[in-house]
């Protein structure tokens, strides 16, 4: 069975600096896969490579067996891969509702339509309302996204990412900067929205990682040093030494 996402000998250099040094990874369909690693390991760069923000220097990224590396980001997104951002990356001057509405358009078949009113597109409004409820953001429906509280913005961030119904979802530190309660809510949301989908998540919060992930990979200096189930990772001495040393899990 083809893996949902395959990274084959992926490398990326910026000038003389080699950030990603040959990453091989396979994420099975429906799997929840966490990528952890110390700061500067290249996790965000990895996400950027997979989602098409820039092309790799070498190697390939395959989505359900089809090559996506080198394609522009919007093309990759249309093929069913969506990502969130570590630093909240929403449409700050538009209302929450508008943010979600724009995010559902392509997946419902609407292209650069200018001959119909957006509010008349029943399937669009239905899906947007659905998402609003799912994210518990009904009370902020008409608020400009830039004025939301941090936690609400992060929820919207996730919302925009999953709105299009992508099969493979990349979440980049979704709970960064959240309190315990907010983190719990976020994890609950993530679990709900990624049911039957493939999830690749970068996280620093070990509680979230071990609670959510089916498999974990550890990225250190641009290479994967270990990959396996949470138990395997927890017990791996290399990983402990490189990364988990300070944290008692």
């Amino acid at each position: 069975m083809t893996a949902a996402l395959t990274l084959a000998n992926l490398t990326k250099s910026f000038g003389p600096a080699e950030i990603i040094r040959g990453v091989d990874l396979e994420v099975a369909a429906g799997e929840r896969h966490a990528v952890i690693g110390p700061n500067g390991a290249g996790k965000s760069t990895l996400f950027n490579l997979i989602s098409g923000a820039f092309p790799p220097s070498g190697g390939q990224v395959l989505l359900r067996g089809r090559r996506i590396s080198g394609l522009p980001a919007y093309a990759i997104n249309r093929m069913g891969l969506s990502r969130s951002f570590q630093v909240t990356n929403i449409f700050q001057n538009m209302s929450v509702y508008e943010n979600l509405r724009c995010a559902v358009l392509w997946s419902l078949g609407y292209r650069y339509t200018f001959w119909r009113w957006a509010s008349r597109l029943r399937d669009v409004t239905e899906r947007s309302d659905e998402l609003l409820q799912l994210l518990h953001l009904e009370h902020t429906r008409d608020t400009p996204a830039g004025l939301l509280s941090y936690a609400d913005q992060r929820a919207l961030e996730i919302g925009i990412t999953i709105a299009g119904g992508a099969e493979v979802i990349l979440l980049d530190e979704p709970t960064a900067g959240m309190s315990h309660a907010e983190t719990d809510r976020a994890v609950d949301l993530i679990r709900r929205v990624t049911e039957n989908r493939t999830l690749l998540i970068v996280e620093h919060d070990m509680g979230v990682v071990f609670g959510l992930a089916d498999r974990i990979s550890v990225l250190v200096y641009g290479e994967i040093v270990a990959s396996g189930t949470p138990e395997e990772i927890r017990g791996n001495p290399k990983v402990r030494e490189a990364y988990l040393g300070e944290e008692a899990v």
Binding site: F91, M94, C102, A103, W106, Y112, T113, R116, A118
Partner: protein, 409 residues
């Protein structure tokens, strides 16, 4: 199925129709019609410009190109109608302008829209200069320095309008201004309109929801060019002459100033801006030579202190009324407004004094009081007003700042 929100949003448009119908009775003079026609043309142009700037986040220094090309298209069509080789009503010429603007936008927009932000602005400047120069070179199309002229009283009459007297031209302008504004407003509510907002706010994220930002920008550019061309067509009929000056950076700069002063963050802002600038141009130029300077100052004040423009201020007041906090903020606002007025008056007096001192012309009269530039008193008065004004503005800084930024208190 009509929703209540839809009916409510229709209300301003119905009010607009009423206003357009009543205006000729309120202001029946020739000058008034001339001004109102100019406003009608400029508001369509400014709205088309704001499709790029306010809604799409694209700063263009060369929008006059599409206005001019549309205008020339309409003008040539008008001459063909006059010659009998084209069977098309003059009343419909703005549509020809629209078509020419669309095509021009498509052709020129293709290389332009590959970039955004500052490079886009620079490309638009370069192309504007190119077309402006080409305008003077190709005499058979653009008429050289004298331009091309035509006669609007030819061909088939529509709606019983011969388009001879200026009042009849008013109805023509009012019709097209309304139709164009309505169309552009409707556009903002379409998916593409929304997407252009998204691309403006975050073009990287727009990619990650499946849309090519370049494509969005290009389509918006084309449509915006179309409406600019429509305004050009209106202008061709109204003034019956078009010269290559239409392509100049001055015209491009003027529409930028209009849209920005009016307020680029709301739909109707550019309408306010167009009206204000046209009025200032026609009325103030009789009283002072420095009216362009005042416009410049107004523009700078808005850029620095009220980037939402006049419409932003209006919205802020509306917000206060909605939240029933008018009584609470009124004293601070009152202080701020009077301080601003004092500063404005002081500045005007100072500017006029300087001007008259240099020109050696007769002393000015303010409300019947002569203020001579050769005496020290008026200068002191000006400085005093400026000083008082700035003190007043410093007294209510926080709330004043919030008012102008359109933020919540």
């Amino acid at each position: 199925m009509m929703q209540p929100g839809f009916l409510r949003s229709l209300l301003p448009w119905l009010a607009a129709i009423l206003l357009l119908a009543l205006l000729p009775s309120i202001f029946p003079s020739r000058t008034a019609f001339s001004v109102m026609n100019a406003i009608g043309i400029q508001l369509v142009f400014a709205l088309s410009y704001n499709m790029l700037l306010g809604q799409g986040g694209m700063l263009s220094f060369g929008h006059a190109v599409y206005f001019g090309l549309g205008g020339y298209g309409a003008m040539h069509a008008m001459r063909l109608i006059e010659a009998g080789s084209l069977d098309f009503p003059v009343f419909g010429l703005p549509l020809i302008g629209f078509a020419v603007g669309l095509i021009a936008g498509a052709v020129i927009g293709w290389p332009s829209c590959r970039r955004s932000g500052v490079p886009f602005a620079m490309i638009s400047l370069g192309i504007g200069e190119l077309v402006a120069a080409a305008g003077f070179m190709f005499v058979s199309i653009f008429g050289g320095e004298e331009g091309i002229s035509g006669d609007r009283m030819v061909g088939v009459e529509t709606f019983g309008l011969s388009l001879g007297p200026i009042k009849e031209v008013y109805w023509f302008i009012a019709f097209w201004a309304f139709v164009a504004a309505l169309a552009m407003w409707a556009f903002t509510k379409t998916p593409l309109g929304r997407l252009s907002n998204a691309v403006r706010d975050n073009d990287q994220r727009a990619q990650f929801i499946g849309f090519d930002p370049q494509r969005v920008r290009y389509l918006v550019f084309i449509i915006s060019g179309g409406f600019a061309g429509l305004a050009g067509g209106m202008s061709a009929v109204n003034y019956e002459i078009l010269t290559p000056e239409t392509f100049s950076a001055l015209v491009s700069g003027a529409v930028l100033i209009m849209a920005f002063i009016g307020g680029i963050r709301t739909f109707y802002g550019p309408i306010l801006g167009a009206a204000l600038i046209v009025v200032m141009q026609s009325l103030l130029s009789d009283y002072t030579e420095a009216w362009q300077f005042y416009i410049g100052i107004l523009f700078m004040v808005i850029v620095m202190f009220a980037p939402g423009g006049l419409a932003g201020l209006v919205e802020r007041v509306r917000l206060a009324i909605q939240r029933r906090e008018l009584a609470e903020v009124a004293p601070t606002w009152g202080l701020g407004v009077s301080a601003a007025l004092a500063m404005t008056l002081g500045m005007i007096i100072l500017v006029e004094l300087v001007f008259r001192w240099r020109e050696g012309s007769e002393p000015m009269e303010l409300l019947g009081i002569p203020l001579s530039h050769s005496e020290i008193l008026p200068w002191l008065l000006a400085l005093l007003l400026l000083g008082l004004g700035s003190v007043g503005l410093r007294q209510a800084p926080k709330r004043w700042g919030r008012l102008l930024r359109g933020e919540a208190p």
